[in-house]
């Protein structure tokens, strides 16, 4: 079956999970009840005793149900399942009726083929031919209805889960504060610059202000751009380089075309802070941090990467909640496909990559309010 066919008739065309699953008690019940009703309705015009008539009806009903179920499980290429099932029921109706008449015809001596049989056969086969497919359609309609309901329920569940995750992520972000350690050490450096009358003091204060504005929980917005995040990261790295000039070098290279992409606030900074704290800071020799972004030529996804040549990750180094939170936030922001990958860098260091698919509305226009809100 072609993919387009599958899509066109979904979801009613989904295969039942098993044969026994389709052969449900309600279905058997309805088929039997209708057989009884029909037998009762036809009884007055038949010479055949009621029990025999009822028996015939019941057998036919069951045969039709079997045909319906088998046709549902047996997939014909290019033929939608519901058509197969209705056609199967229609085809089987006269055959089943013929089968139940066989014993009467063949039992020699008991009865002979006469006009009554032909009429009886025609009436039963005719009613089976009309009622069977109708019933099949009804069953299929109910099945589709149930599937649609379950799909809607599933969708609802998924949506509320995602909403909850987004909210959680937002709350966690609110709780993530500027680390006092970082702040006081940086201020101590600024103090040293100011006291010594260094011309560096002004630019460094500017970087600190840019960093604090972005990192203050109350000032954070829901969304920013990759370019604005890169500016924040630059401010942070300038501060760190002032503090450890002999141990830290860096390069930030975000192509202009990608700068306008919507991006969750603090996501890139979290990776940079991680690289400094776990890569550069523990190393006596320090290292280099490279920040980049590119569109994967293969799958068209965006890769934002932060690479350091620090001490690297020890097998038993604490994973920290920071990265786990970041992963959740990325998925809440970009969708479940978004990933945070960590790679080892040779000879030592870590490369973290944020990978996400480019949504159609992911442009700077989608967040006009932000343009003025960011440094």
């Amino acid at each position: 079956m072609k993919a387009s066919d599958t899509a066109a008739i979904a979801p009613s065309d989904r295969e039942p999970s098993s044969l026994s699953g389709a052969f449900t008690l309600p279905r058997v019940g309805i088929a039997l009840a209708l057989a009884v009703l029909l037998a009762a309705a036809l009884n007055p015009i038949y010479v055949t005793p009621f029990p025999i008539l009822l028996g015939r009806m019941l057998v036919i009903a069951m045969l039709l149900l079997v045909a319906f179920t088998l046709a549902g499980a047996w997939r014909v290429p290019g033929l939608p399942r519901w058509v197969a099932q209705v056609v199967a029921v229609a085809l089987v109706a006269p055959i089943a009726t013929f089968l139940v008449y066989l014993p009467s015809i063949w039992f020699p001596g008991v009865s002979r083929l006469h006009e009554g049989y032909v009429t009886g056969y025609t009436i039963i086969a005719g009613s089976a031919l009309v009622i069977g497919p109708l019933l099949a359609l009804g069953a299929l309609y109910r099945e589709r209805d149930a599937q649609a309901r379950s799909a809607a329920l599933h969708f609802e569940l998924e949506r509320s889960t995602l909403e909850k995750q987004a909210l959680d992520a937002r709350l966690k972000l609110l709780h993530a504060q500027v680390e006092p350690h970082f702040l006081f050490n940086t201020l101590a450096n600024v103090q040293a610059l100011v006291e010594s009358g260094s011309p560096q003091a002004g630019p460094v204060l500017r970087s600190l202000i840019a960093y604090l504005r972005a990192a203050m929980p109350r000032l954070q917005s829901v969304s920013t751009t990759l370019g604005a995040e890169a500016a924040l990261v630059r401010a942070y790295l300038e501060l760190m380089q002032m503090r450890m000039p002999d141990r830290l070098t860096y390069r930030i290279d975000i192509p202009e075309a990608l700068g306008a992409l919507r991006f969750p606030p603090m996501a890139l900074l979290t990776l940079i802070e991680n690289a400094v704290r776990h890569g550069i800071d523990p190393s006596e020799d320090g290292g280099r941090i490279e920040v980049g972004a590119r569109r994967d030529p293969g799958d068209g996804r965006i890769r934002v990467l932060v690479q350091d040549t620090g001490v690297g990750m020890q097998d038993s180094a604490e994973t920290g909640t920071g990265l786990a939170n970041l992963r959740e936030r990325l998925q809440a922001f970009f969708g479940a496909d978004a990933a945070l990958e960590l790679h080892e860098v040779v000879p030592h260091g870590v490369r973290a990559e944020i990978v996400f698919a480019l949504a159609e509305d992911n442009t700077v226009d989608a967040t006009p309010a932000l343009a003025g809100a960011r440094p």
């Binding site: 101590a188 450890m244 141990r247 097998d315 038993s316 994973t319 786990a324 990958e341």
Partner: protein, 261 residues
């Protein structure tokens, strides 16, 4: 004997400079004989110059300030310089060491200078200061903060696996299960699958038993990713995982793990 001597250790050069310049004004006789950029250099330079006073930044790469102080012991007056919050500072105070909280005021440094000058006039005594225990405590605290708890056995937090041309670092929380595959072990995690060289037996030893359990001769499962356990015939069971179709076997000898759940 010539004038008093001191060593300054801080990984941030601007802060070394600031301390040096203020000390120069407050205590002109004090000679700064060396500046160290980390704990290891501090110890080396201390051994070389044997200064009477050592200013140690607490957080330094490699050997940190507290570890350097342990190594220096009582051979010098140690002043810690730290950006740490109050409770760590209290621990310093108990040890009768002096400490400066960054960014420090010049007046506070003047106090420290007075205290040091007074102490240098007294004969060195070897009584009283419960230095080692305080330093041990502090070192443990620093380790704990850095996520390197030295007391408990360290469990595996990351698994390194070659995927294509790179080596992926996989946080163990993301792993669904591990299954031995001839010479290798298959790691199945949220982001994919990979083969690693470590055996199931080694992994069972190194992973945190709070989260990971061996449920079969060849299978370790992340208990936090288990959605249900179905009892099977003959005292075995099957484990199903959250958001996955994999069904993992639980062999007879491991069924007890799930008994009280």
């Amino acid at each position: 004997m010539s004038g008093p001597t001191a060593l300054i250790a801080d990984d941030e050069p601007l802060l070394r400079e600031r301390l040096r310049s203020h000390l120069g004004r407050l205590w002109p006789e004090l000679a700064i004989v060396a500046e160290a950029r980390n704990g290891r250099e501090a110890v080396e330079l201390f051994d070389l110059h044997a200064p009477q006073v050592v200013f140690l930044d607490v957080q330094m790469p490699g050997l940190n300030g507290v570890e350097a102080a342990r190594s220096i012991g009582r051979r010098a007056e140690v002043v810690f310089v730290t950006a740490y919050e109050q409770y760590a500072v209290q621990a310093f105070a108990q040890g009768a060491l002096d400490y400066l909280v960054k960014p420090f005021e010049v007046e506070r440094l003047a106090d420290t200078v007075q205290r040091l000058q007074a102490r240098l006039l007294q004969p060195r005594d070897s009584t009283g200061r419960p230095l080692e225990s305080v330093l041990d405590e502090l070192a443990a605290e620093l380790k704990r903060r850095a996520g390197l708890d030295g007391s408990a056995r360290r469990h595996l937090r990351w698994i390194k696996a070659s995927v294509g041309s790179t080596t992926r670092l996989i946080p163990v929380e993301q792993i669904a299960f591990l299954r031995s595959d001839e010479k290798y072990t298959l790691v199945v995690w949220e982001g994919g699958e990979a083969l690693i060289r470590k055996s199931i037996r080694e992994l069972a030893d190194e992973l945190d038993p709070e989260s990971f359990a061996q449920i079969h001769r060849s299978v370790i499962v992340n208990l936090r990713q288990v959605s249900q356990v179905d009892r099977g015939l003959n005292e075995t069971a099957e484990v199903k995982l959250k958001n996955r179709n994999d069904v993992l076997p639980v062999s007879r000898s491991f069924v007890h793990i799930f008994r009280q759940m």
